[in-house]
Symmetry: C2
Subunit: 177 residues, 2 copies
DNA sequence: TATTTTGTTCAATTATTATTGAACAAAATA
DNA sequence: TATTTTGTTCAATAATAATTGAACAAAATA
């Protein structure tokens, strides 16, 4: 391991001086993604990773994310995997460096599209089966209740169809950003 | 307190025999809402309450929800409050019964509309301020980085505007279900 | 071949969120 | 007035989710 060299003595008392601390701008951008992720129920660490990559001009390696965001190896590795599966991050090859580098995919349509699919569409998928199954379990109920449940199931079927119709529309509106 | 009466000896060994256990249909409907709520990051107990009210033909009092769903008083009270604030549940007055009764609001536009507003729109609100603040913090950066951050901020502004445009559109598509 | 670099995996820990239930209050009833 | 019913609040607890870090592996380098 190489000795840490002796410049930069004033600042960076506790942190490795080779790694520049986050700039105020970077902090702000990250915060923006963190609070948005919160609204969507996504973990903070993932938003931090995406945020820093989004703010960064050049692709970053996992090390850098770990050092600058104070993440554990585990979080960084898992977070990057998650973002990559989601298509929110892509890997970049950099000659002469064997570390994988990552950059943020900043196309809203791709991002939001995949997120909606993963988060919502999945759950629409088996709704139809479920509803059919429910429809076949009303024997024990009174006639009045059977009628009511039948109405409810119809309603849920309409909701399901409406939801499915909306998604592609939203995708189209996300356009080419 | 009234003595529990002596019919229904076979079943209901442990549970209060006055309270009918959940029918299979009810269980299924509740499960549907529970798994959807999960996708949206909402607590299970709230989905259970809404689910049972949705399946029920007549309005239910808090007691009934507590007994049939095995909830604590606290959960029931808080859950109903949350649902009422969201507009997902309305109160019904029933003559000769001083308990408040609740029924599910089953209009998709109201439900989804309020949920989206509460969950998403709130977070769009201060984005503009945030972005302006960020834009005024780029002094310390290199020219190249400043240019890049400026581009990113522009992009975020476009995303913000796109998001705002989409919401009313979605609401319109939710139509009159 | 031995060592270092780069990264993954997953059990253990920590942090966060949901749920409970006891204490309390307000209104109705005895 | 005393008691019961109906409901709220909130500190304590339980359940869930996120994060850590140690153990491991594969590939590059010495």
């Amino acid at each position: 391991m190489e000795a840490v060299f002796a410049g930069n003595m004033e600042e960076n008392v506790k942190t490795n001086p080779v790694v520049p601390p986050l700039e105020p701008v970077e902090v702000e951008v990250i915060q923006l993604f963190v609070q948005f992720a919160r609204a969507l129920g996504q973990p903070r660490s993932i938003a931090e990773i995406y945020g820093l990559l989004f703010a960064s001009e050049k692709p970053l390696a996992m090390d850098t994310l770990i050092d600058r965001l104070n993440l554990s190896k585990g979080s960084a590795s898992q977070g990057l995997k998650y973002l990559q599966d989601l298509g929110a991050v892509r890997t970049i090859y950099i000659a002469g460096d064997r570390r994988t580098h990552y950059e943020a995919v900043a196309e809203l349509r791709k991002l939001a599209g995949r997120f909606l699919r993963q988060q919502i569409l999945t759950h629409f998928e088996d709704t139809e089966n479920r509803l059919n199954r429910i429809a076949g379990q009303t024997q024990k109920l009174s006639d009045e209740q059977q009628r009511h449940i039948a109405e409810r199931i119809d309603l849920l079927r309409r909701w399901d169809r409406t939801g499915r119709r909306i998604l592609p529309f939203v995708l189209k509106m996300l356009g080419g950003d």
